[in-house]
Amino acid sequence: MKRSLTIFLSIFVLGASIAARAETDAEVSARKDALDIAGAFSNDGFKIRDGHSCGVLKPHDHALVAVNLYAGNQYWFSAAAAEPAKKIAVSVYDENGKQLTTESYNNEEKAAAGFSPANSGQYFVSVDLVEGEGGSFCLVYSYK
């Protein structure tokens, strides 16, 4: 357990070092929270990708991230936002922009969407600011 945590933390620190730009404290905090959610799914066999997408959510707007997924795998997309964002939601769209039905977890500034693609290819993950002012967010994903 201790070793797993060490690895987890080292991946976290490593991830921070490879970001294309310097991350703000708020983004680092949001990523930690997003990894906490993803960590919960890892108890169910999901492996957390050592990659992330952080940015800023604006009021009444969403952040859209392109991912490439494989049919046969199951995915959870976990996101968290820092204050002053109050509530976010995560949703998934297919390559034509059609929203897909997902399993969902919502807990104010943390949210996740679970999905098993029928087709391999490109999908889009949207992180929406539902309530509160704009703020930093971070998205990670896990698969099994």
């Binding site: 991946i11 490879i18 969902s104």
Partner: protein
């Protein structure tokens, strides 16, 4: 421990919430999809992700996908980067095969190739961890460690102003991963497995990243050749959604990526 237990509860709660699902579907316009964030670290899946999908439908003979020892004495930096990516994909294969000795051998070769790029110092600790996890048969942890190793290589490249080589590591891994998956499907064709091969946007994205690297590197014979062949491969993996690649289509992809892989491995660079 308590923290993880709480998170476990969180997952359970999520499962309960999951029953509701998303019901009010909406559609995003094409211009928004075009502007979506795309990055190496989240838009491009790891070889481990690809292998996980393949392993769902058929029992794969992973050790049958090993290749012979490869040279670790390349001089061309682009070629080293491409081979490094391929080698990391080999590491994922060895993890799938649960072959600790093979994982150790590949881990050692990864360090040697990284050394040739001048990025090995930070990786020595990773090499030790890989050996330790392999020794203890900690396969899930090894998968994470391999991805972390790949990212550490890329991170070191960025700090060494070798940013342009990063996409070549990623590309090398994808080509080797696709070679292995197509070979496995050819050995025992089934439709569910073949569906993992539809990846037009992924190949298109990698091609676009190659187009962004410096003109000097892009004009290197190997990079130019790989890039040109990638155009053909993009067409081969561009199946309509819902269509399953036939056995013949799988074979064509395997031949195409196999040809590129042979060039990447070759000691004689294209002229």
């Amino acid at each position: 421990m308590i923290r993880l237990a709480k998170l476990g509860l969180l997952a359970l709660t999520a499962g309960v919430f999951a029953a509701t699902g998303a019901t009010d579907t909406r559609r995003l316009p094409a211009d928004q999809l075009e502007k979506a964030v795309r990055s190496d670290s989240i838009t491009i899946p790891t070889p481990g992700e690809l292998f996980a999908a393949l392993g769902k439908s058929e029992k794969t003979n992973w050790s049958g996908q090993y290749r012979g020892p490869m040279p670790v004495t390349y001089r061309n930096r682009a070629q080293i980067a491409l081979n490094l990516g391929g080698l990391i994909a080999d590491g994922f294969i060895a993890v799938e095969a649960k072959d600790s000795q093979q994982v150790k051998n590949i881990g050692s070769d990864i360090i040697k190739l990284a050394k040739a790029l001048g990025v090995s110092e930070r990786l020595l600790g990773r090499g030790n961890s890989i050996n330790e996890f392999a020794q203890n048969n900690e396969w899930d942890t090894l998968q994470e460690e391999l991805e972390a190793t790949q990212n550490e290589v890329k991170s070191a490249m960025q700090s060494h102003a070798d940013q342009d080589l990063v996409i070549l590591v990623t590309l090398g891994g994808w080509i080797r991963g696709t070679q292995v998956v197509t070979a496995a499907i050819m050995q025992k064709y089934d439709e569910r497995s073949a569906k993992v091969l539809r990846q037009p946007a992924l190949v298109h994205f990698m091609q676009s990243r190659i187009n962004e690297i410096s003109p000097e590197l892009r004009q290197e014979p190997l990079v130019k050749d790989v890039s040109e062949q990638l155009n053909g491969i993009e067409k081969l993996v561009s199946f309509p959604a819902g269509k399953t690649p036939t056995a013949d289509e799988v074979r064509k992809i395997n031949e195409a990526v196999g040809k590129v892989m042979t060039e990447i491995e070759s000691k004689e660079l294209p002229k």
